[in-house]
């Protein structure tokens, strides 16, 4: 999942702190708790298609887009969702730093109307830093359905900032928000409510605030920064020094007033821990006071349907079977639905190929032109399009539906204990699910895991779930060798069950390797964890379909095509340039043959996987090209002919299983590896991310081949 231009591929991990601002537009930051619809607000305002989904932690980097009101235009910056600004995790730090140092002209804090009190905690922390705050209470329709009543004017009075109720899915409801942004950025003075701490803390702040204010010259909120000094937030203070290019540590007045503030707190018996707790509690209690009488709901009927759904979806007897059934169902719908369109498209595209060849012959073009461009580039392209497009156009919307519904956090909840047995974290299940769409996106998503050790575990094992680039390979091989192409309900059901089994092998490997890693190079015990289970939301089916097809499907396809065309040319050349009486491709294949044979495959397959490093989508076309270059020219417009070709080249069901095993477990594609490098900042982990699945895959193939041959011979 998580597949848009900005969330897949190499751009996936860009944390742009330096927002590009052409034409000095006013900058509006969009902040909020995780999973309150920030990205939906952002998309509606900017007309962009930032990926959305019903689970916390989906946005892990700053995204930006343009937004126009009646007479102004703004640069909107979508910052990661956080519960607080205390910066204990990567995305919290990104959020806090942006609000502190990004100098936005206004901050829109998006809140969940169904859970307003907790959201106000963040609002209060933000108004502590900056005055230009607008509170946008999103999901008003949801709240209404749940019988939550919010008195917005009174809330606005209490908070001292504009409060706008919205339903971000409906663009119209955002008009008042735009109006508020217009007003707040045209120098309208705002005096937001600032929380007051207990007298001792207030006194300590008053000791250091004047000197800090003098030093920072109003470039940063001095009361807030004083508080951070009291909390010993060294990381933030160092950052402030760097960005404002000042130094606190060599200023004698600051040091002496800090010392007197610390000793005052000591005398009052307020330790560092106590202070931190007082501060956090003050926010929670203030939020509680503000909501008192403003937010009204009946506790007994609230959320009742969600609880009923959870009783089934996370129950002892149905929790795991439902997960499994959903997996089978998604695959079944994908395979059945994709079957016919796939044949149609490939029939069409291959007829076009003949037409091209005919044209080239008629104009008297040399044979190699036909070879390079038609048999090379075009044929690989046609294969990629006809095999990938239909399943993706079905798989992505289905997955997006589950995602929007809010089911994925339940998967993490159900799988937490198994993951903990492997000394990892249940949130790894979420990153694993993202890996189904794109492993690079899954690896960026690992930022939602707080503990660095557990995050690395998730990063290193992410490629054990097949991404959409590898699904076509699995599906093609499964269909050819295990299901048959007869069609019908039984065969499609059988292939989805088999595919699910293959996926389960991958998931099993994820668990096994996670366990092994946690016992060897990433030793440690599981850290604590909290996971929010968001309310179920009715997905906007129409929108989901349109968005998935235009955004994810076409984008991923575009990437595959971009790789397929040059790859097709290179491979055709390799298959047809001869050294002596053997082609370059087959020469390489022969070199690899002895090793590949140990794995129960042949050198051609192995070289196809090696050449498929930029994108796994092209593995099968390479195999086909290598085989056909050996002389047998085939019209490969059906999967039956493809099977014949493979069998003529010595494939058996053992080869087929090994190809699937190796497809599931080998080095991740180049994009994924570059993302690992970006995320871990280390070549060592990047190398491990490639080596681990490769070793597992090679071993699995060898063991399987060995056992299979024992039984057959």
């Amino acid at each position: 999942m998580g597949l848009t231009k900005n969330s897949t591929g190499i751009k996936a991990s860009d944390t742009n702190f330096n927002i590009k601002n052409v034409g000095a537009k006013k900058i509006i930051a969009i902040a909020g708790n995780p999973n309150v619809g920030k990205s939906t607000v952002f998309n509606s305002l900017t007309g962009m298609r930032q990926h959305t989904g019903n689970w916390p932690g989906k946005t892990v980097t700053n995204a930006q887009g343009l937004c126009k009101s009646k007479n102004k235009s703004y640069l909107m910056v979508d910052i990661p969702g956080t519960y607080s600004l205390s910066a204990r995790s990567a995305e919290e730090e990104v959020a806090r730093d942006y609000i502190c140092f990004g100098n936005p002209d206004a901050v829109v804090v998006v809140c969940d109307a169904t859970c307003l009190e907790r959201n106000l905690n963040l609002v209060l922390q933000i108004t502590e830093i900056t005055s230009n705050v607008i509170v946008c209470i999103n999901l008003m329709d949801e709240a209404e359905r749940r019988g939550v009543d919010i008195k917005i004017p009174e809330l606005s009075k209490r908070l001292g900032v504009p409060v706008i109720g919205t339903v971000a899915r409906k663009k119209k409801s955002l008009a008042p928000l735009l109006k508020a942004i217009d007003e707040i950025t045209s120098a309208k003075e705002i005096f937001p409510l600032r929380v007051r701490y207990c007298p001792e803390i207030e006194k300590a702040i008053s000791i250091i605030e004047p000197v800090i204010r003098k030093k920072t010259e109003g470039k940063i909120n001095s009361r807030w920064l004083s508080l951070k000094f009291l909390e010993h937030e060294t990381g933030l203070i160092e950052k402030t020094e760097k960005i404002l290019s000042i130094s606190f540590s060599d200023d004698a007045t600051i040091i002496s007033s800090l010392e007197s503030a610390y000793s005052f707190l000591d005398e009052q018996g307020i330790s560092r821990e106590k202070l931190e707790e007082e501060i956090a509690e003050t926010f929670v209690r203030s939020a509680e006071d503000i909501c008192d009488g403003v937010v009204v709901f009946d506790e007994n009927t609230y959320n009742i349907r969600d609880r009923k759904a959870d009783r089934i979806l996370t129950s002892k007897w149905a929790g795991y079977p439902v997960m499994l059934l959903l997996l089978v169902l998604v695959f079944w719908l994908t395979l059945t639905g994709a079957n016919y369109p796939s044949q149609l498209i490939s029939g069409l595209l291959f007829r076009v190929q003949d037409f091209f060849t005919l044209c080239l012959r008629n104009i008297g073009a040399p044979e190699w032109v036909n070879g390079v461009f038609v048999l090379g580039a075009y044929r690989v392209l046609a294969w990629v399009v006809s095999v990938m497009l239909p399943p993706m156009a079905i798989f992505f919307p289905l997955f997006t539906l589950l995602e929007d519904l809010g089911y994925l956090p339940r998967v993490a909840y159900n799988l937490d204990k198994p993951f903990r047995r492997c000394n990892a974290c249940g949130k790894q299940a979420l990153t694993m699910c993202m890996g189904f769409g794109c492993n690079a996106a899954g690896i960026v998503g690992c930022r939602i895991i707080d503990s660095p050790r557990e995050r690395l575990l998730a990063v290193l094992t992410n490629s054990f779930v097949p991404c959409n680039g590898r699904f076509p390979v699995l599906i093609a091989v499964l269909t050819m060798f295990f299901v048959g192409t007869a069609g019908g309900i039984t065969s499609s059901l059988l292939s989805s069950v088999l595919l699910t089994i293959v996926i389960l092998v991958g998931i099993g490997a994820t668990f096994g390797i996670t366990f092994l890693l946690s016992k060897t190079i990433l030793k440690g015990v599981p850290s604590s964890f909290t996971l929010e289970l968001p309310p179920y939301r009715m997905p906007q089916i129409g929108k989901v379909i349109v968005r998935s097809i235009f955004d994810r499907t076409l984008f991923v396809l575009g990437r595959a095509v971009a790789v397929a065309i040059p790859a097709g040319i290179i491979i055709w050349i390799m298959a047809n340039v001869r050294a002596g009486d053997i082609s370059l491709l087959n020469y390489c294949a022969q070199v690899l043959d002895p090793f590949a044979n140990l794995m129960g495959i042949d050198g051609v397959i192995l070289i196809a996987f090696i050449l498929g490093f930029p994108a796994n989508e092209i593995v099968i076309p390479i195999i086909i090209m290598a085989y056909t270059a050996q002389g047998t020219i085939l019209e490969l417009d059906s999967i039956v002919q493809m099977k014949d070709l493979f069998i003529n080249n010595g494939w058996t069901w053992i080869t087929a299983i090994n190809v699937m095993l190796f497809c599931l477990m080998h080095w991740p594609c180049s994009t994924t590896l570059l993302t690992v490098k970006k995320e871990t900042g280390s070549w060592k982990w990047t190398a491990l991310a490639a080596v681990i699945p490769t070793i597992v895959g090679v071993c699995a193939c060898m063991v399987f081949t060995f056992i299979a041959k024992l039984f057959i011979v």
């Binding site: 519960y83 204990r88 907790r118 709901f297 909840y413």
Partner: protein
Amino acid sequence: MEHEISLSDLSVDESAKIDHLLIYGSMRRRLTDIGFVKDTKIKCVGKSPCGDPSAFLVRGAIIAIREEDGKKIIVRRV
């Protein structure tokens, strides 16, 4: 009389009020941030298929917490 137990002792559908936390460090701050402070009402709304973690309703949100962490959250029955 009010009886002190841990959050993990609550069975499904039982409610309690938070008394104090025996968790320290960043997890403590995280819990405080999402509203785990003294006298907050908390209700166990379900357990995951393995019996752990459990889900709790706190200040309008459902939060999953593991048993070993829940043991360090001291609550009073109401």
